[in-house]
């Protein structure tokens, strides 16, 4: 479903590439994690996959569609992204209804009304949220709307950039369960970026650990839980996660 080979991203004025020769594959219906500290390049990989960055080298294939490295082409019914901060990713002056109708209008889809009703049902929110503005919602509700918006075009792949790190632990549990249920029901493929190893182990079957723009190792969730890691850096990361958890 996702195939990335030798992906290298350079930003102007930086000698070192932000992402260097990154390769991984994610099968259909799988959830794959990208783990690392701030600045390791994990979000840059996600943005390249989403088509938000051009000028990279290598190969990106999403559900059989090859992404062009120089021409932006949205693949709206293939891939959608959910951002870290639900406070920054919803237009403050648009009602929830408008937020959800916009992608339907842009892509000239039919059954607009029905799609909005279903989208809200999917994320466990009642229809009365339609008339509300983002500031009238809690953080967890906003993130549900962001997920509803991402799913309204029925993509096959969701790119999740720290989708719960701005939320309380108690709210995180609800959003995580929602994402898990949607993946099973809709047969979605997830690529999840996070620095939270327990969360990665809970949501993903496999993950890749990134450091300074490179993937240093690939692990299964079971390896992660058992501490069966090859790299010293990963071991230190695991130890830090246990201390600060």
């Amino acid at each position: 479903m996702i195939e990335v080979r030798d992906l290298t991203v350079r930003f102007p004025g930086r000698e070192k590439p932000a992402v260097s020769r990154v390769s991984f594959r994610v099968a259909s219906g799988e959830a794959f994690g990208l783990v690392g500290e701030s600045g390791c390049g994990k979000t840059t990989v996600l943005r390249a996959l989403a088509g938000l960055i051009t000028g990279w080298t290598g190969r990106i294939e999403l559900a059989g569609h090859q992404r062009s490295s120089y021409k932006f082409k949205a693949l709206p019914n293939i891939v959608q992204m959910v951002f870290q901060d639900p406070f920054g990713s919803l237009h403050p002056n648009h009602t929830i209804e408008r937020v959800l109708l916009e992608p339907i209008a842009i892509h000239k889809l039919d059954r607009a009304e029905q799609r909005v009703v279903e989208a809200l049902q999917n994320v466990g929110l009642s229809q009365r949220f339609r008339r509300r503005l983002p500031h009238q919602l809690s953080g967890g509700e906003r993130q549900r709307i962001a997920i509803a918006r991402a799913l309204i075009l029925s993509p096959k792949i969701l790119l999740l950039d720290e989708p719960t790190s701005a939320l309380d632990v108690s709210v995180q549990a609800e959003v995580v369960n929602l994402l898990q249920r949607l993946r099973a029901e809709l047969g979605l493929t997830y690529l999840l970026v996070s620095h939270d190893l327990p969360l990665i182990a809970h949501m993903c079957g496999r993950c890749a650990v990134m450091r300074s723009g490179e993937i240093i190792e690939e692990l299964t969730a079971a390896d992660l839980r058992a501490g069966k890691v090859a790299e010293r850096y990963t071991r230190e990361f695991l130890a830090a996660s246990r201390y600060a958890a």
Partner: protein, 278 residues
């Protein structure tokens, strides 16, 4: 030994469209030379409690308490001018996100010196040397560079260390840390926590840690207060967390994914209006 901070029946309310909204409803606790955790969800009133202790509740908020004592000083009798001299000197707070808490147009070094100069009549040269030494002691590798840097030139971890350094310059006895690590990566969290731990344990300060993350508080603090809808629903020792009595505490504890205990579905946190009143 008298506690550093005594709080009895603290109440904070804000006028709303349909009468007063009570954000903090009768909170009592003592803080000694220890690490005390205050845990609650967004909107539970935990940050409002911290602001009330520093007398920084914004108008038109109304604060009342049967007792509010800092180091034996009755804070209800202290004038605004006296409060200003206590803030920073006796009780201080570090905030969640250093990017928003540091002055963007003033060098880090000057901000750190400012704390000291506001409370002591030391010479600027002396304070400058102190600030550099403080930066070193909070684990900044090249104090000279950071001293002259501005907030946007710092990493998140450096920013939080600087906040701590700034606070320590006036040697306050009581420190409040409001979500001190939630803007930081896991790897930096450990470093900032061990720095705070040093302060509480080695320097004998009272540390109040405010967080939504019960797991973090339980692994770091000595005692925990669990806040629900402006009220403390349970108070327990951190090492007793596995035997917590209150259903809310137990649910918070279980809601976090764990590396050691895999579950297929995360337990969610139930909310019962009755807890807010019992």
């Amino acid at each position: 030994m008298t506690p550093l901070l005594r709080v009895e029946d603290l109440r904070v309310s804000f006028p709303g469209a349909s009468g007063l909204i009570e954000a903090v409803r009768g909170v009592s606790f003592d803080l000694g030379r220890e690490k005390l955790g205050l845990v609650g969800e967004s909107g539970s009133g935990k940050s409002t409690i911290a602001r009330a202790l520093l007398r920084l509740v914004p108008k038109p908020g109304i604060v009342s308490a049967r007792r509010l004592e800092l180091d034996g000083i009755d804070l209800s009798r202290v004038s605004e001018a006296e409060m200003r001299s206590l803030r920073g000197r006796r009780i201080s707070m570090i905030l969640q996100d250093p990017r928003f808490s540091l002055n963007p147009v003033m060098s880090v070094g000057r901000q750190i010196m400012e704390t000291r100069l506001a409370h002591f009549t030391d010479s600027a040269a002396h304070v400058r040397a102190q600030a550099l030494a403080m930066l070193h002691s909070v684990g900044i590798r090249d104090p000279a560079r950071v001293f002259n840097a501005y907030a946007h030139e710092l990493s998140g971890g450096e920013g939080q260390r600087i906040m701590i350094a700034m606070m320590l310059m006036a040697e306050p006895g009581v420190l409040i840390a409001d979500e001190p690590t939630s803007a930081l990566d896991v790897t930096l969290r450990g470093q900032v926590l061990s720095l705070l731990d040093d302060l509480a344990v080695k320097r004998g300060r009272g540390l109040l840690v405010i967080s939504h993350d019960l797991g973090l508080v339980a692994s770091f603090c000595d005692r925990i207060l669990v806040l629900y809808a402006g009220r403390i629903v349970e108070s327990l020792r951190a090492d007793e967390i596995a035997e917590a009595q209150h259903p809310y505490t137990r649910a918070l504890w279980a809601a976090r994914p764990s590396l050691d205990k895999p579950v297929s579905v995360l337990p969610t946190v139930p909310r019962d209006p009755a807890w807010a009143n019992s």
